[in-house]
Amino acid sequence: MLKIAKERLNELYAKISESMGLFIPIKKGGEVNYHVWGEGKEVSLETLKTVKSPKNMFFPQTENMMKFKTEGKNIEILEAGIRKQGDELKPFVAFGVKACDYKAIEVLDKVFLAEPVDTFYQARRNATTIVTLACSKPEESCFCGVFGIDATNPQGDVSTWLDEKYLYWQANTEKGETLTSLASELFEKGGETEVEAQKTSTKAVLAQLPFANLDLSRFKPENLNELFDDTRWEEMSEACLGCGTCTFVCPTCQCFDIRDFKTNDGVIRYRCWDSCMYSDFTLMAHGNSRTTQMQRFRQRFMHKLVYYPSQNDGLYSCVGCGRCVNKCPQNLNIVKVIKTLGGKKND
């Protein structure tokens, strides 16, 4: 294990930035989100939850897919794919990814990297080195443990731990080793004891969290119909505004829409995040298959807790990051759903 003094982190960032893009939680306009590092930027590794999750790096909120021109019945493709032709996607580092958000990338991988592969996502994934950061101060809205995630021991190409003095650094993969070698002169050896101590104390906090023992036992494919028909969806969803906050801050929501934009030079076809909470999400030529907010609300949670796991060997598409718990304007969230429908232990 290696370590680097906190005061020297800027040197590390600068060193990495020389050859790669560095995305890291940065405070901008009062809120912490992943931004590209630059000299003078206010890095905030201490922030437990960025507003937008790291998924934005692999699956940006909007992404141009192609540019084309039409003339009569002819279509001329001007540009296609993730970048202008001949441009290689610059490798980048996603720095400070928490255990829950790292697990969320696995959830996204199963969607985007399954056949047919989403090449836009794949290109970004391949270009990334992920540096995870263990949590030392989880808060009451966290419940990653429920999904079997160890917040104190995140995986990734490099795992790191932060305390008052040092960032402890453990490369796990070849990519991680390469990254380490970029700035090897900045590191010193040691830190095992400090990391172990931090793990133990954080684990004690995690076990005490109010949502640590949520019961998911009823969310099984065989209960699908029963859960779907549950009468309590109506009351659970009655305050829902139909905004997209929960879906847009969620690290695993992966739905998108494809739209065209007319420029002076042709048409840009782009994709952008969409939300199953929006009234036009299922709008089709024949009409809308989900006409009430209750149906939309139900869809979101059934997808996370029943549909997705039934197609992915029981892997839930919620990682317990708690962003929706913090951000829902009217305080509705997945925990309330789990508590209502999950199982006996919740009572």
Partner: protein
């Protein structure tokens, strides 16, 4: 021989003028038939009444590459629909103030009242507005980069 590479390309702004059908559009017509000149980069959009102009139209014009937007209507009190331009006056006063508040140059937007008989005024107003916007330069704050791609 002139050195073309060092010759600076002169900026000619794109101006969108929303003109009401009953007064200002006729005013523009009169300007034309009286052989009074106004810059060719003023693109006139005829609207039934100045109050037909939704704030979205103004923003859309900027998005699509306008550097200045001007609304022309009948003089207050002379509206073909009796009161339409009174509403325009309030809306645009608030909208332009608001754009200024957002940091968008206040000189880029204007409302002028031009009657059907004021060909002279129409020409003068347009010349003056084009001059103002030319001095201001290109609209960069309320524009859509995608639109200008490939230009």
């Amino acid at each position: 021989m002139q050195d073309v590479t060092t010759e600076k390309k002169e900026f000619t702004p794109n101006i969108v003028a929303f003109c009401c059908n009953w007064c200002s559009y006729a005013g523009a017509d009169l300007a034309g038939s009286s052989r009074l000149s106004y810059p060719a980069n003023v693109k006139i959009i005829r609207v039934p009444c100045s109050c037909r102009v939704n704030p979205t139209f103004v923003l859309k014009a900027f998005q699509q590459g306008a550097d200045g937007v001007i609304l022309c209507g009948c003089h207050p009190g002379d509206c073909h629909y009796v009161t339409g331009n009174y509403y325009t006056r309030r809306r645009m006063a608030l909208l332009f103030n608001f754009l200024n508040y957002m940091g968008i140059e206040k000189e880029r937007t204007r409302v002028e009242w031009v009657s059907a008989a004021e060909g002279q005024k129409f020409s003068a107003v347009m010349n003056d507005f084009v001059k103002t916007v030319t001095e201001l330069g290109e609209n960069k704050r309320l524009t859509d980069l995608r639109v200008k791609e490939g230009e």
